[in-house]
């Protein structure tokens, strides 16, 4: 699982990256300071999950998630629980309070994995539905069923 860690505070960023590095099958692709850097990084290489601080200069985590719907799954990380409602309205995978405990971080990673599988299933079902909606296929299948 490729992770990007985004926080404008150096020690906070380093700590989260260090802890994620201790979790099996998680690779920290980058540590970034603000929302603009996130968008640039995602253009270069896709990520499986964003760990986003909620308050950063210029472009806060919630604002970023609201503006760009094509972002990978998001786990918000913050000192303050005031933003919890907005985070879940934005369909964030999880919401972690600083200082984060490793057990809680492991749970968040597991939720990201579960979300990835759900998304893959959802994509699969959507593709199947799209194929079934194809008029030529409908003709074909009615021809088959007529035969």
């Amino acid at each position: 699982m490729k992770a990007l860690v985004v926080d404008d505070e150096d020690p906070a960023r380093r700590r989260l990256a260090r802890m994620l590095g201790e979790i099996a099958n998680v690779e920290v692709m980058g540590e970034l300071e603000d929302g603009d850097a996130v968008l640039r990084a995602l253009e270069r290489q896709p990520a499986d999950v964003l760990f986003l601080d909620v308050r950063m200069p210029g472009f806060d985590g919630i604002g970023l998630a609201q503006r760009y719907v094509d972002l990978p799954p998001i786990v918000f990380v913050t000192a303050y629980d005031h933003y919890a409602v907005s985070a879940f309205e934005l369909n964030a995978v999880d919401y972690l309070l600083k200082p984060v405990r490793i057990e809680r971080l492991v749970t968040a990673v597991e939720r990201v994995r579960a979300r990835q599988m759900t998304d893959r299933d959802a994509v699969g079902r959507a593709l199947t539905a799209a194929q079934n909606a194809d008029p030529l296929r409908l003709l074909g299948s009615s021809a088959v069923s007529a035969g």
Binding site: E9, P11, A12, R14, R15, R18, D34, A79, L97, K98
Partner: protein, 204 residues
């Protein structure tokens, strides 16, 4: 005297609220947690500074004045704490002319100005600098807090207005009209807050 006491208690309350503000508190605990394996000495110093800032805020409600040295020590701790968050991105400096350490002034007058400078001058951008200078001009103590941020009025920082107002209220209560706080654009861009205090104490 009662009104001044009330204003001092309000300043104490604001300082305590700032110190126990969830963002500040949990972010600083997180900073210490991060530093413990990386830099244990800095982690210890950070905890010491945090404890001293809390202690100072608690004391401020019980005294009418403190020595300038004490207030400046607290400002230095506060700036050091903020520097650990931003590393090289935040530059701070504190320059104090000789012979001023024993001057009396109400506590927590400087700290809101420095906090404003850091929060609205620097934290909303990638980084910047905050410079505090303290000097004497004849019978007045001049304290200047400069940041190189967007300048007064240009920032989205909420709360800057409240703390400036409360500093002005306390100045009026302690010094009548003989002290002042001005906030204006600095010559090189950014913001300059200038506190002017009569050195020989409040007008009686």
């Amino acid at each position: 005297m009662l009104v001044e006491r009330k204003a001092a208690l309000e300043a104490q309350l604001q300082a305590l609220q700032a110190r126990t503000d969830p963002h500040f508190l949990f972010n600083r605990l997180n900073t210490v947690a991060s530093l413990i394996p990386e830099n244990p000495e800095l982690a210890e110093r950070t905890l010491e500074r945090l404890a001293d800032l809390f202690r100072y805020a608690l004391e401020a409600g019980h005294v009418r004045t403190v020595k300038l040295q004490r207030e400046l020590g607290m400002v230095a701790d506060y700036m050091a704490l903020q520097s650990t968050r931003f590393g090289d991105r935040l530059q701070t400096s504190l320059e104090v002319a000789e012979g001023l350490a024993e001057i009396d002034l109400p506590p927590l007058l400087l700290q809101p100005l420095v906090e404003n400078a850091i929060l609205h001058g620097v934290a909303q951008r990638r980084g910047g600098s905050v410079a505090v200078s303290v000097r004497r001009e004849r019978d007045h103590l001049i304290v200047e807090v400069r940041d190189d941020g967007p300048g007064p009025g240009a920032s989205a920082h909420i709360g800057a207005g409240t703390s400036v107002r409360s500093v002005r209220d306390r100045l009026r209560l302690h010094y009548d009209e003989t002290a002042s706080l001005s906030l204006a654009a600095d010559s090189g861009g950014g913001c300059l807050a200038r506190l002017t205090l009569p050195i020989h104490g409040p007008s009686l």
